[in-house]
């Protein structure tokens, strides 16, 4: 049984992958705590972005993924508040994923019928509904104060306070690797190719006898699950959640990072997320009033000059065989979103 298929356009050479993973594992105990924290958050949010990217590959832009991000986070938070006896990270994350997937199963029934900006508008509408409920039902959700999310164990293990940050990092890293692998299998599978076919020629898909709506729905389920996973992981890592998680600007940020990273690989969202968090961190230190300026400008540059995102630049630098770069490059320059 082979673990990795495909021509490598989904992932860089397997050697590099292992090196990268090894680095991520080995380096962590030796870098400063704030950096570990930054990476942890970047991975967690990167999972949400991965969910957005899975839909982007089918020509759908989810401007409301904050719905799942918040749902996963609040599933964990509310469970704790309601007195969940097991304050274990793994349990909370599972809860978050289950809740957000269930939500996606319902919302997806409606959303899978739409395209283009109407898909975007409806998805943001759903997320704003959740936001308005999280914000105003303060007796239930804590309102603007939010809820604290404090776990006492991870998979039953109880790291000491000084190792908590590191333990969270490895926990998130492990789940990220797992989730990315699942997403990878999806993109290499018939369903994954069907999504690309839908992006390319929806009519032909129907004329082949495959239901476009069902393909989108199933992909949407995984996309929602990833959003919830990212949300729960963020909740646990940060330790506190607020209704903002469902606000449209947060969803917009996920779309931003998706485009920044690119859609050419399941790793691209993570790359984009890490770069985003780094830039935001440093830009904020420079001046709290310029990080949006900087990031907005970066997005402008990406849209106008590098629509394939950072990943396409990365691929070009890695100098793949022309036969492999050509498809991805041409595809992205043709990324007209026209319907």
């Amino acid at each position: 049984m082979k673990l990795l298929y495909g021509r490598g356009w989904l992932l860089p050479g397997r050697g590099w992958l292992l090196v990268g993973l090894f680095l991520l594992i080995a380096v962590a105990p030796f870098i400063p705590g704030w950096l570990v924290f930054l990476l942890t958050i970047a991975f967690a949010k990167g999972l949400v972005v991965l969910g957005v990217v899975l839909l982007l590959r089918g020509d759908l832009v989810s401007f409301g993924h904050g719905l799942y991000y918040a749902a996963g986070a609040y599933a964990a938070g509310l469970a704790l508040r309601a007195g969940l006896p097991v304050r274990d990270a793994a349990v909370l994350v599972l809860l978050g994923v289950v809740v957000s997937t269930a939500l996606a199963a319902i919302v997806g029934l409606f959303l899978a019928r739409y395209r283009g900006i109407f898909f975007g508008m409806l998805s943001v509408a759903f997320s704003m509904i959740l936001y308005s409920l999280l914000l105003k039902l303060y007796w239930l959700t804590g309102g603007t104060d939010g809820l604290s999310v404090r776990v006492s164990s991870i998979f039953g293990l109880q790291p000491g306070a000084e190792y908590l940050r590191l333990a969270q990092y490895y926990f998130v890293l492990a789940l990220t690797v797992g989730a990315v692998y699942v997403a990878y299998r999806l993109t290499a599978s018939p369903l994954g190719y069907l999504m690309r076919a839908i992006y390319d020629n929806e009519i032909r898909v129907e004329y082949m006898g495959a239901s476009v709506r069902r393909a989108i729905y199933r992909t949407y389920l995984l996309s929602g699950a990833l959003g919830g996973l990212g949300g729960a992981l963020t909740a646990i890592t940060v330790g506190h959640i607020a209704p903002d998680l469902a606000y449209w600007t947060v969803s917009g940020e996920f779309v931003f990072v998706a485009l920044l990273g690119g859609t050419g690989s399941v790793l691209a969202p993570l790359l984009g997320s890490v770069v985003f968090e780094f830039v935001r961190n440093y830009a904020f230190k420079l001046s709290p009033y310029t990080w949006q300026l900087l990031l907005g400008s970066v997005l402008l540059v990406v849209i106008l000059f590098a629509p394939g995102g950072l990943w396409s630049i990365f691929e070009r630098l890695a100098r793949r065989e022309p036969g492999e770069t050509a498809p991805r490059k041409e595809r992205r320059w043709a990324l007209s979103w026209r319907r």
């Binding site: 018939p190 994954g192 190719y193 069907l194 390319d200 032909r204 129907e206 069902r214 036969g323 498809p327």
Partner: protein, 249 residues
């Protein structure tokens, strides 16, 4: 040989234009039928109606005695009627092989799999075999956007054929193909069609092509059938010659 496809008094208007006027036709299993007629005579509308893309205002369509009039294209395809397009509808950003793999996975109803990869060795072999039948010996890893027009048309038909339909509708399979390639393309397509015994209905403008490959020719004119016979008989018919070939007018 049984009747595999039948239209019963099918009519369809677009505003004042009668694209289909009381069409009652029967297609027998294994027949190769050519449809000719001037532009706007209703040929493509006929294909659209049969495949469910357009609904007739009157009449029914029966596929193996089953009423498929109200079905959507996807359902019609799943029952066994596949079509190719005048402008080839392909997944241009994917390779020829990937296009075929997708078609085969849908045919096998395995297109919902999300864990096992598309490119399993067995499947790739099967895809290459089908592509080979249609003359794609080496180009399987080419991206479709780099294919010449003839190649695209053949691939379009190949994808529909891969669905193992009972009835294959070809909408102008040689239009846009250069004169040199026309017969090559049709030879390839018809060879596969005849070998497989699928019922084929193809819309064509080129009379030579029709004369060479069809068992039966339907001549469309303003939504009705002007003639329905073997090619030799049809092309000898003076009314046909006047209307379609413009002779003696």
């Amino acid at each position: 040989m049984g009747v595999v496809l039948e239209t019963v008094a099918v009519s369809r208007s677009f505003g004042a234009v009668k694209a289909a006027d009381n069409l009652s036709l029967r297609f027998a299993e294994g027949q190769v039928v050519g449809i000719v007629g001037p532009n706007g005579s209703g040929k493509t509308t006929f294909v659209n109606i049969v495949t469910g893309y357009v609904k007739p205002t009157h009449g029914r369509i029966l596929f193996r005695d089953r009423d498929i009039t109200r079905l959507r294209p996807r359902e019609v395809t799943n029952l066994g009627i596949a079509r190719s397009f005048q402008i080839p509808q392909l997944y241009t950003h994917l390779t020829v092989l990937e296009n075929m793999l997708i078609a085969l996975s849908v045919q096998e109803r395995r297109h919902w799999e999300f864990w096992r990869p598309l490119r399993l060795d067995g499947r790739v072999e099967a895809a290459l075999r089908v592509l080979d039948q249609f003359g794609f010996q080496d180009g399987a890893d080419q991206r479709v956007s780099t294919l010449p027009e003839g190649g695209r048309k053949v691939l379009d038909v190949a994808l529909s054929f891969a669905l193992q339909p009972s009835v294959l509708l070809l909408d102008e399979p040689t239009s846009g193909v250069s004169v040199d390639d026309k017969f090559g393309v049709m030879d390839t397509l018809m060879r596969v069609v005849k070998e497989s015994g699928v019922t084929a209905v193809f819309v064509e403008h080129d009379m030579d092509v029709v004369a060479r490959y069809a068992d039966r020719v339907l001549v469309f004119a303003e939504g009705t059938i002007l003639a329905d016979d073997r090619p030799e008989a049809v092309f000898a018919n003076p009314a046909v010659r006047a209307h379609v070939l413009g002779e003696g007018v």
